[in-house]
């Protein structure tokens, strides 16, 4: 064996830049979205919850509580559907926290971070998967609601508006969940965050009008983001007066998205550099 025969290989040349940075950023994010969607589709328990939770809640609120709750509208189902949509999609978005924590605690993140890819691609993958997943569960809620007698008054433009607000809501909650997922030290801790999100709609106008609550609670309910978001969706779907809730809703959701996105990308860089 001579020295020439064992000569080491030259370092690999950098891959030819056949495509631009933007192309690869999009391609890498696409791979990550497929990964996240596969994970979602293969977690049978999570999938069952995504189907059973909305349907059960709908039945519970309309048939169990509905008779006893007076909202000043004709049918409680017309009042409660937007709330249930928010509850389910909010919870669904919050599950993103668990996936992010799993990635951060299971070593796979080091491998992703040493690849020549945009570092936030993995986070964007989770968020986009969350958007798709919750679009599906929202359609499921709507389908069930329509079967149960939900009678929306919205025209095409209002439907589009409601869909936009809901998408923005899921986007905001997903990025917020990413932040909690990055902060959580374990998947159990990340799971705790999903419960917080699950309960938030109860202290809002999602299920009962806020004026029935004690003053302090009503104050919180009226000034937390779920209320204007619920009111906006309800107004768009049912044709009730929108009463200036659309702007606060959009402001809240945009604010949460921007702050959470910034925090998430910063935390991601920092947390991975420990």
């Amino acid at each position: 064996m001579t020295a020439t025969a064992t000569a080491p290989p030259a370092p690999a040349p950098p891959p030819p830049p056949r495509h631009g940075r933007l192309y690869w950023a999009a391609a890498d994010t696409g791979v990550m979205i497929v990964r996240s969607l596969r994970q979602v589709a293969r977690q049978t328990d999570g999938l069952l919850i995504a189907v059973i939770l909305p349907v059960t809640l709908m039945l519970l609120f309309v048939y169990v509580f509905g008779g006893a709750i007076s909202t000043g509208t004709d049918a409680y189902i017309d009042y409660v559907v937007p709330g249930i949509i928010l509850l389910c999609s909010g919870y669904g978005a919050a599950l993103t926290a668990v996936s992010v924590t799993a990635d951060m605690t299971e070593g796979v993140i080091d491998r992703f971070r040493t690849l020549p890819i945009m570092s936030s691609a993995v986070l964007i993958g989770h968020v986009v998967a969350s958007l798709l997943r919750n679009t599906f569960s929202t359609l499921l809620v709507l389908g069930t609601a329509l079967l149960m007698g939900f009678d929306p008054k919205a025209g095409p433009l209002e439907w589009l508006g409601a869909a936009g607000v809901l998408l923005l809501f899921v986007l905001a909650m997903s990025w917020l969940s990413v932040v909690f997922g990055l902060l959580a030290k374990s998947q159990e801790a990340a799971g705790g965050f999903t419960f917080f999100v699950l309960f938030l709609p109860y202290v809002s106008s999602a299920f009962v009008p806020t004026d029935t609550m004690p003053a302090a609670l009503a104050f919180f309910a009226e000034n937390q983001p779920i209320t204007p978001v619920t009111e906006s969706v309800r107004a768009l779907l049912m044709g009730t007066p929108i009463d200036g809730s659309l702007l606060p809703a959009i402001a809240w959701l945009t604010g949460i998205t921007v702050v959470s996105y910034t925090l998430a990308t910063t935390l991601f860089r920092r947390r991975a550099a420990r």
Partner: protein, 340 residues
């Protein structure tokens, strides 16, 4: 295992001295966490095409070292480069030269083995068709063809590790970092992983691995550096290191002064440790049947009676101590002896 053990030896002969380009070079690397200094000035050069093992006990800073070299962690001071690309100043350039297989199998449990490989191929920008072709090759090479459609969740520890190693090869990187590739595996899986690493070597890659097992470094590496107390306390070929290492001690205990005296005269040598007060002689060596038989035969031939013979294996701590300070080694061996 002889086949895998023989390969590094042959290459070691050709390359241990190594005049090839530096695949990895560090100078004065330091890293502390608060008051704890983990790395205290590390200078290393790993020649291209060689297998380098960083050996050290738990908490010696091996993983910290790997994380710095793979751009995941900035050092407090000092420099590190992979094929000339500085890991701090030009991390993106450095990342093109290596792949990392961390301490915990970094595979996606919910995906199949094949999906894991194709995904990593795509993320390495091989393109869809390229990634699938490469995945098929590697599944075959790492004996995972039958398991390719199964989710990784159902894999055994050894299979996961093999998949992990296959992933580290997907983009054919010139340098492969393996952080404790066999920690937590049973002996059989460990051997399978060793064989898999030997296959990585065939591809001509430079391999930087960390381990807490002497035997592993010995089996796989052309060169070994021992990390202890934040410093490299020994650096050389496995053979060189073993010469300086603590060896098994054959402890001979005698019942009478005259037997002890006769034996001490017969076995005198620089390495033999005599303890006249307790009538004990300690003879270093391989500690195998041949050595023991030789000792017994010799003493028997001279009619010297031994009251007791025990073997004491050096612990990893003693090995590290013996590498830093031969005097410390003696006292450590004695302490160990007193305890037993």
């Amino acid at each position: 295992m002889n086949a895998t053990a023989a390969a590094p030896r042959a290459r070691a002969a050709a390359k241990a001295v190594g005049t090839g380009p530096a695949a990895i070079a560090t100078a004065g690397l330091r890293k502390s966490y608060g008051a704890v200094t983990v790395l205290d000035g590390i200078d290393l050069t790993v020649r291209a095409g060689t297998v380098f093992a960083l050996l050290g006990p738990n908490g010696a800073g091996k993983t910290t070292m790997v994380r710095i070299l793979t751009t995941l962690l900035p050092p407090d001071s000092g420099t590190a480069a992979v094929f000339g690309a500085d890991v701090v100043r030009t991390p993106e350039a450095a990342r093109r030269h290596f792949s990392l297989t961390g301490q915990y199998a970094a595979v996606d449990e919910l995906l199949t083995g094949e999906e894991n490989l194709v995904m990593m191929g795509r993320l390495n920008h091989l393109g869809g068709a390229g990634a699938r072709r490469r995945a098929a090759e590697l599944l075959d090479r790492f004996d995972l063809v039958d398991a390719r459609k199964r989710r990784v969740r159902t894999y055994s520890g050894g299979m996961r590790r093999r998949l992990d190693l296959a992933i580290s090869l997907i983009a054919d990187p010139p340098v492969i970092f393996l952080d404790e590739p066999t920690t937590g595996l049973d002996p059989r899986s460990r051997r399978a992983v060793w064989a898999a690493i030997a296959r990585l070597v065939e591809s001509g890659s430079t391999i930087f691995l960390t381990t807490q097992y002497l035997e592993e470094a010995d089996q796989l590496a052309d060169r070994v550096a021992v990390l202890h107390g934040g410093r490299v306390v020994a650096d050389g070929t496995p053979a060189e290191l073993k010469d300086g290492m603590a060896r098994t001690l054959v402890e001979l205990r005698f019942a009478a002064d005259d037997a002890y005296g006769a034996a001490a005269a017969l076995l005198s040598g620089p390495d033999v440790r005599a303890e006249p007060e307790s009538l004990v002689l300690r003879v270093p060596g391989a500690g195998d049947a041949a050595q023991v038989k030789h000792l017994l035969d010799l003493l028997e031939a001279h009619d010297v009676h031994i009251s007791r013979l025990t073997l004491s294996e050096p612990t990893l701590d003693e090995v590290f101590l013996s590498l830093t300070d031969p005097a410390a080694h003696h006292s450590a061996a004695d302490t160990n002896q007193d305890a037993t």
